[in-house]
């Protein structure tokens, strides 16, 4: 095959990359500008180094109408980690039970879990809210995280991985006297480590990016996540300090983007090989 410079393909890809980088760059540069200049519409693509001081300032003080950004970042971190780890743990356990044991109502349990796929929060806004208030979970951190921990996707993914483990391996482990716990710890978890990494990325991003759920169950500003906070900031438009809003947007973006970029390889494999 002849290797020549495929300039149309490069051009299209560069345009695609620019489509994503440019808005972010604009916000990054804008965050360092003088707020009065932004309000007059004098946005520039060249950052002003002196303006970087806006970052420590929003971290500790926030912007008008919102909590300090560091606090919202902590809530988001807590929420994303609790959801990612919680989902992985309960999904591994239930997939293990369903795949490697026989117990009464096993298939019923499987179908009950499966049904959750069809009930996203968005279709049951009001009743979920009333259940949450019956359980006294409104405006609590567990309320923010625990209900999102149940999900069928992770369970189905682990079940698939477990089903693909050869029977010989299971036999051998049992001959060596491995009980159910040791089998789980020494064989199943190492075998599914690639899945674990991919799921962690997907679920961390899922948890970090939640908007409707925290909006419903956490009206107390002390539980504002960074995503809720940034939307609140643009809502108070009359006195918006745009440079602070832009700095907050950058800080809201960075953590999940960093997780995806750093764990890119596992993430892409896990996403396309599992169901979604």
């Amino acid at each position: 095959m002849t290797q020549r410079f495929d300039w149309p393909a490069h051009l299209v890809l560069l345009l695609g990359v620019a489509l994503f980088i440019l808005p972010i760059w604009l916000v990054l540069a804008g965050s360092t500008l003088d707020p009065a200049a932004i309000s007059r519409g004098e946005l520039s693509l060249i950052p002003r180094l002196a303006g970087l001081s806006v970052y420590p300032s929003v971290l500790s003080d926030g912007a008008f109408g919102a909590q300090p950004v560091w606090h919202m970042l902590m809530i988001s971190f807590g929420m994303a980690l609790a959801i990612a780890i919680g989902k992985i743990v309960i999904s591994i356990l239930s997939a293990y039970a369903i795949t490697f044991f026989r117990f009464p109502f096993r298939m019923t349990a499987f179908w009950i879990i499966f049904i959750t796929l069809m009930l996203p929060v968005e279709v049951r806004i009001i009743p979920t809210y009333s259940v949450m208030s019956d359980l006294d979970l409104i405006n609590t951190f567990p309320g923010l995280t625990v209900p999102l921990i149940a999900s069928a996707t992770a369970t189905l993914l682990f079940r698939q991985t477990f089903l693909a483990i050869p029977d010989e391996l299971v036999e051998a482990a049992r001959m060596d006297g491995a009980g159910p716990w040791r089998f789980l710890k020494d064989i199943l978890i190492p075998v599914s480590s690639a899945n674990l990494a991919a799921l962690f990325v997907i679920l961390f991003v899922y948890g970090w990016n939640q908007y409707l759920w925290p909006l419903l169950v956490a009206t107390d500003p002390h539980l504002d996540t960074i995503v809720i906070g940034i939307v609140k900031m643009i809502g108070t438009e009359t006195q918006t300090e745009w440079n602070r809003v832009m700095a907050t947007a950058v800080l809201a973006l960075l953590p999940p983007v960093a997780v995806v970029v750093l764990m890119q390889r596992w993430f892409v494999k896990g996403l396309t090989e599992g169901d979604k």
Binding site: Q3, F20, S91, L93, R124, I125, I126, D167, A252, V260
Partner: protein, 293 residues
């Protein structure tokens, strides 16, 4: 498929499956049941009296021209978001699948936007398209387009479509690229030998092999556009101006949480549930086909 080798006993597995079952029952089945129940009741204006009205909320809903409008609007919105984000992603994936220098860099640079929250994507586009401070918004106004999405419903709709589609391109790109890479090189080479050129080769050889991926992504994108864009729309327009960008989910939220019309909001929830069930069933059909190939 079932495993042949298993562990004995039933107490341990019941204990293992219990946490997930409890969460599912409390936070999924119970609320869903309540939604169905309250979709068949009506509460008076003072919240004192609740009576069972059967399917009346549903017949009210479907005879309400505003609700029918919202269904139509949601369909237009979903179809536009799916078409735009899948189209752009496919073009990018076809280019990134070639033997290019630096293609791993292109991939990383096109994959990371997966991590952007829908609501944050909305903020980025607001900062671009704001009529007073946004770079693009100001430019449009200078060019003589009276750009103000807060007043003009069509412009508001365009804006939420673009912001929602933009965020979804990476996801589609990842799947299209994986789909293209799973097509054996030998097939494409054979077509090349037979003299099939560029577009013709793509249309007759590559595209048919990509059909399962296209269907899978179509369902995923429709679900995304229908449900996950609540944050985008809420941040940009709150469904306005008027009802110009009010999708079905935004309407459930407005009617239930803002206007406290529980009966109608629950009936709308039940309609949406039916929608998700159909889409999920479709997805599993195509997914099943995908994995068996």
């Amino acid at each position: 498929m079932e495993r042949r080798t298993i562990f004995p006993g039933w107490r341990l597995p019941v204990l293992l499956v219990l946490p997930q079952l409890l969460l599912t029952v409390f936070f999924f089945l119970w609320p869903a049941g309540q939604a169905i129940w309250s979709s068949m009741t009506r509460t008076d204006a003072f919240g004192l009296h609740t009576e069972f009205v059967g399917l009346e909320n549903f017949s009210d809903l479907f005879s309400d021209p505003l609700y029918i409008d919202t269904i139509g609007r949601t369909l237009v919105f979903c179809a536009s978001v799916a078409a735009l984000s899948m189209g752009v992603a496919l073009v990018l994936a076809v280019c990134a699948d070639r033997e290019l220098r630096g293609r791993n860099w292109y991939r990383i640079l096109l994959i990371w936007p997966y991590a952007i929250a829908p609501a944050v994507a909305a903020v980025l586009w607001l900062l671009l398209l704001h009529p007073q401070i946004g770079l693009v918004g100001r430019w449009l106004n200078r060019m003589g387009v009276a750009w103000d999405y807060k007043l003009n419903g069509v412009q508001a709709m365009l804006m939420v479509i673009v912001a929602s589609a933009w965020k979804q391109v990476s996801y589609n790109f990842i799947f299209f690229l994986a789909g293209l890479q799973s097509i054996p090189r030998s097939v494409v080479e054979a077509a090349r030998m037979d003299g099939a050129k560029g577009w013709f080769r793509f249309r007759t050889v590559v595209l048919p092999l990509l059909v399962p991926t296209v269907f899978f992504l179509l369902v995923v994108n429709l679900v995304y556009a229908a449900f996950d864009t609540f944050g985008t729309i809420q941040a940009l327009t709150q469904g306005g101006p008027g009802k110009a960008t009010e999708t079905l989910v935004v309407k459930v939220y407005r009617d239930g949480i803002v206007n406290l019309d529980i009966g109608s909001s629950s009936a709308q929830s039940v309609v949406l549930m039916a929608g998700v069930i159909v889409l999920t069933a479709l997805q599993f059909r195509f997914l099943g086909r995908r994995s068996s190939e």
